[in-house]
């Protein structure tokens, strides 16, 4: 019985230990994932927002994963509320203007050639490195 127990339990223990070692050895870098959802919704600029129309899955507390090209999860968490940004620089002299909804979440990621973002099980979105405002991976939806 003890042999049987050992045969059943040891492989999973070893797998877990090896996986933990693998993760521990891999250097990670703190960066920000930024997603601009171009839903062109009419709202005040600079207020909390969520994606609208086909992008309603982009919202506060929506689960997300950052994956590599092989689909392996590198980071996961929940989105913070989006922030509305005006689509035009012109002053339209009204309080509610055409806006996009931008999300930003901090992540720690191991180095990979490419990254993709999966939000609440929806199809992945390609992320592009952009260090113009600090280390970041950015996406524009729709691209």
């Amino acid at each position: 019985m003890r042999r049987l127990l050992a045969a059943l339990v040891l492989p999973s223990l070893l797998t877990g230990a090896l996986a933990a070692c693998g993760d521990a050895e891999e250097a990670r870098k703190a960066m920000t994932v930024r997603v601009l959802v171009r839903d062109i919704n009419i709202r005040p600029a600079g207020v909390e927002c969520a994606g609208t129309g086909p992008y309603t899955h982009f919202h506060n507390r929506a689960p997300f994963r950052v994956v590599d090209t092989g689909g392996r999860t590198l980071a996961e968490g929940a989105l913070s509320p989006g922030r509305s940004v005006a689509t035009f620089a012109e002053d339209l002299e009204v309080s509610r203007v055409p806006t996009y909804c931008e999300f930003a979440v901090p992540v720690d990621l191991a180095a990979r050639d490419a990254y993709r973002l999966v939000v609440d099980g929806h199809p992945p979105v390609d992320l592009t490195p952009n260090d113009s405002e600090g280390p970041a991976l950015v996406a524009v939806v729709p691209s």
């Binding site: 709202r43 005040p44 927002c49 994606g51 609208t52 309603t56 509610r96």
Partner: protein, 195 residues
């Protein structure tokens, strides 16, 4: 492994499982009613309820049907047949909704039976909605708009939003982005004539 050791191990595992599920061996308290369900529907409108007539030419509100949080069917037209209805479009993850909810819940209690508030929620999980309704003491019925059809029929694109419908179904007023309770209260006082 001896038989006695195996039995002790099984007993420990069972005890741990029971502790984890919070089972107390048949001494369970009755489950609370589902918040936002049929029990939250209003009673009859007060006899002699005086209402200001809706302006002529006001468009009709979409007379949609849906299911409350407990699965009970509801038709908005049945609710506005004898009193005004306020539709509150919200989600549990909307922080502005949460910020304003306590005052809206209190407003609903104050106007209970004269005006019906109805929550409409989409893009959310039922368990999160229940947590939100209990945390913010929401006492009015709530429709789970799973596919967002009711939101779309009222052209609501994101939470919060509030819509006022007159008795009979005339669409009176809408606030995309929501409205604070004092402003909504003032609007309702224009509708309901003093007794």
């Amino acid at each position: 492994m001896t038989r006695g050791y195996a039995v002790r191990l099984a007993a420990i595992a069972l005890a741990a499982a029971l502790a984890a599920t919070g089972c107390s061996g048949g001494d369970e308290a009755p489950a609370p009613p589902v918040a936002g369900g049929a029990a939250a529907l209003p009673g009859p409108a007060p006899a002699g309820l005086g209402l200001r007539p809706a302006p002529s030419g006001a468009p009709g509100a979409p007379a949609v049907t849906g299911a409350l949080t407990d699965g009970s069917p509801v038709a908005l037209a049945d609710l506005w047949a004898d009193r005004p209805v306020v539709l509150v479009f919200f989600t549990s993850w909307c922080t502005l909704c949460a910020d304003r909810q306590a005052a809206l819940s209190e407003l609903a209690r104050r106007h209970r039976d004269e005006v019906v508030l109805v929550g409409v929620v989409t893009e959310d999980r039922p368990e999160d909605v229940q947590r939100y309704l209990r945390e913010h003491r929401v006492g009015y019925p709530v429709v789970l708009d799973a596919d967002g059809a009711i939101w779309r029929s009222y052209a609501v694109r994101e939470p919060p939003a509030v819509v006022v419908v007159a008795k009979g179904g005339a669409l009176l007023r809408g606030w995309p982005g929501g409205v604070d309770a004092p402003t909504l209260d003032a609007e309702l006082r224009k509708l309901v004539l003093p007794a």
